[in-house]
Amino acid sequence: MRNEHERKETVEGSLFYMKRGAVASIPMIIGGIPFGLLFGSLASNYGLSPWFAIAMSSIVFAGSAQFVALGLIALHAPIWVIVSTTFIVNLRHLLYAADLVKYVKHLPMSVRIVMGFGLVDESYAAIRPMYGTGEVNEKTGHKAFLGSFLAFYLMWNTTTVLGVLSGELIPGMSEWGLEFAMVATFIGIITPYLKSKPFWLCMLSAGVSSLILFELPNNLGLLLSAVIGVCVGYCVDVSLNAPIDSETKDSKEVEL
């Protein structure tokens, strides 16, 4: 028992969990490769400086928001629209943080900063379930998370550079449909949630809303559809699971 504990404290133990986190992320890293290549090549097709694309991938590090921003830049949208849309598209990461708070509150601030920077859909989706299965705990989970983050960060920045270079050499690359890799990756993240009625209805309502509200400017449709999906999921969940005490809960919420 004690030896086991000491072993986990060693560098070797840290590397063990980092590797475990990186290995768990492999499916999504593979899905990210075409997506990163496309980001780099789109940026160069839009006539943006290679440094701009590389800075965005290394400093902002936010896959889908980077694409949305590229699209807005191509439309010559004002800077405040680009920044506020990035905020909205990334708002979901607040949930991931909220969910992980219980596993990071004892960690040093420097570790929390790195984890915050690397809190992307893919790493959250790869590492969060490992706490549930007992593969990691609050002493080891952040190491697995850092492993996942580093693997993903390395892939994202490498493919961005390669995409910028190939975008300049192969101009038609943005027509290939490489962004479908993001769609497939997101489907891979969504489907494990679909184990109960509230999540199915959340998905259906968000999907239908996003089609109906597609015409709204500045990605407002995306924000509204997400809010609708969350409300539908939450309301169905509450009405299914707590019919007896739902009255008291509702009155509490009104007061808030």
Binding site: H93, F117, A181, A184, I189, I190, T191, L211
Partner: protein, 109 residues
């Protein structure tokens, strides 16, 4: 875009992105989530990711396209079916991507 604008865009995007991800971690030892917030937040990934990809799958040319000539729809349906049937992400992503490219290029729709 000028150099100055590029710096402002990247700085702004970094601040909102990192801010959203880090704000709760920064106060992690003090954050107390109301129960209903935590319950509602569980639906955020599904809701947001669905809202991002549904128009991409069903409206690839900005108009609703439910025909089998739409490779996005074929790839999406293939990935979704695989994902619901087998909870295996690598398989879900691979099947979806292969179905998409087969529909787009091999079948020449």
């Amino acid at each position: 875009m000028s150099f100055f604008e590029s710096v402002v865009v990247i700085t702004g995007m970094f601040l909102v992105t990192f801010g959203v991800r880090f704000v709760l971690f920064a106060r992690a030892h003090k954050v107390v989530m109301p129960e209903f917030v935590e319950k509602a937040l569980r639906f955020v990934p599904v809701a947001v990711l669905t809202a991002i990809i549904t128009p991409m799958i069903l409206m690839p040319t900005k108009t609703l396209d439910l025909s089998w000539h739409n490779p996005w729809l074929i790839g999406g349906v293939a990935a979704f079916t695989t994902g619901v049937w087998r909870q295996n992400q690598l398989l879900t992503i691979s099947v979806g991507v292969v179905a998409f490219f087969v529909a787009k290029y091999a079948l020449n729709f």
